[in-house]
């Protein structure tokens, strides 16, 4: 059942999703756009997790499921594993990817400013908000995958130093 997908097509599709939802569908309502993108990611994660868990035995606890996400799931999606996994053993996990594939093309150069920005802090803020829009989709994917494995959770991302990206998973109840 597994076939191959052109990576540049996926990259273009994701960039276009973020841009269309932000500029055309929900212009001036970034929270709604974020939620829609995250919902798309949720469904994709749900389907992908069902597909990738087909061959292997089921999981005995939450840590096993998170490790599956870090290793097999991530390597199927991004051809590498999560670089660092931290937990507080009380339902919070931090998955750190030091070079997140879908954000690797976003410029990290702070000296580049576009013409509309008034001062450096506003430019940095708009650049940050643009990058945050791109992480809603992978957050949704993780949330969908874990929900399908029986772990309701909330996923947020921390992109303070691109291209490294940290996903914080908080398990509900």
């Amino acid at each position: 059942m597994g076939r191959e997908v052109s990576e540049s097509c996926v990259d273009s599709l994701l960039t276009e999703i973020v841009s269309t939802y932000n500029n055309r569908f929900y212009a001036n309502k970034p929270e709604l756009a974020a939620r829609r993108i995250e919902a798309i990611g949720y469904q994709v994660g749900h389907q992908l997790s069902e597909r990738y868990t087909m061959e292997r035995p089921r999981f005995s606890d939450h840590l096993e499921a998170i490790k599956f996400i870090c290793k097999d799931f991530w390597s199927e999606l991004f051809k590498k594993q999560i670089d660092n996994l931290k937990t507080n053993h009380r339902g919070t996990f931090v998955l750190q990817d030091n070079r997140f594939r879908w954000l690797s093309r976003i410029s990290t150069d702070p000296s580049v400013e576009n013409t509309e920005s008034q001062d450096p802090s506003a430019a940095a803020e708009s650049k940050a908000s643009l990058a945050t829009m791109h992480v809603y989709f992978p957050c949704g994917i993780i949330r969908g995958a874990l929900s399908n494995l029986g772990i309701p959770c909330a996923v947020s991302a921390d992109i303070s130093n691109l291209p490294a990206c940290s996903f914080v998973v908080r398990i509900k109840a």
Partner: protein
């Protein structure tokens, strides 16, 4: 060789999303209800057993007269339950694995709401063909 067999798929919320009589024997009128009753009664046993093992295929977990219930649990806790009278474990395991693939294809349909009834006649035809092949 005539076999009796009833196959249902139960979602993680205990809602049956697909059922089919796939045996080749002649069916009595009350047989269908009896089969469904037996399968639903076996759900409790599946629930307990599913947490004790990490395997997907749980062999015969319950008996009724000479009918046996076998169950296959997926990672998303969707249960495929088969009520049958044959003893062909390998055939049943292959049947479950092929139905799992078909089920994943249904899931990949973006218009399918996970947990809702499977109404695709294509899926139905394929499941019956697989049953004829493996059971």
């Amino acid at each position: 060789m005539a076999t009796t067999a009833c196959f249902i798929i139960v979602s993680r919320n205990e809602i049956p999303i697909y059922e089919a009589e796939v045996g080749s024997a002649v069916k009595r009128e009350d047989a269908a209800q009896l089969h469904q009753f037996i399968l639903h009664a076996a759900l409790d046993i599946v629930q307990d057993l599913a947490w004790t093992t990490s395997a997907m295929f749980l062999k015969a977990i319950d008996r009724f007269n000479d009918l046996v219930v076998s169950v296959y649990v997926t990672a998303g806790h969707t249960r495929f339950m088969l009520l049958h009278d044959s003893r062909n474990d390998d055939g049943i395991k292959s049947f479950f694995q092929e139905v799992h693939e078909l089920y994943i294809k249904i899931l990949l349909n973006p218009l399918y709401l996970p947990g809702s009834r499977i109404t695709s006649s294509h899926f139905d035809t394929k499941v019956r063909a697989l049953a004829r092949k493996y059971l």
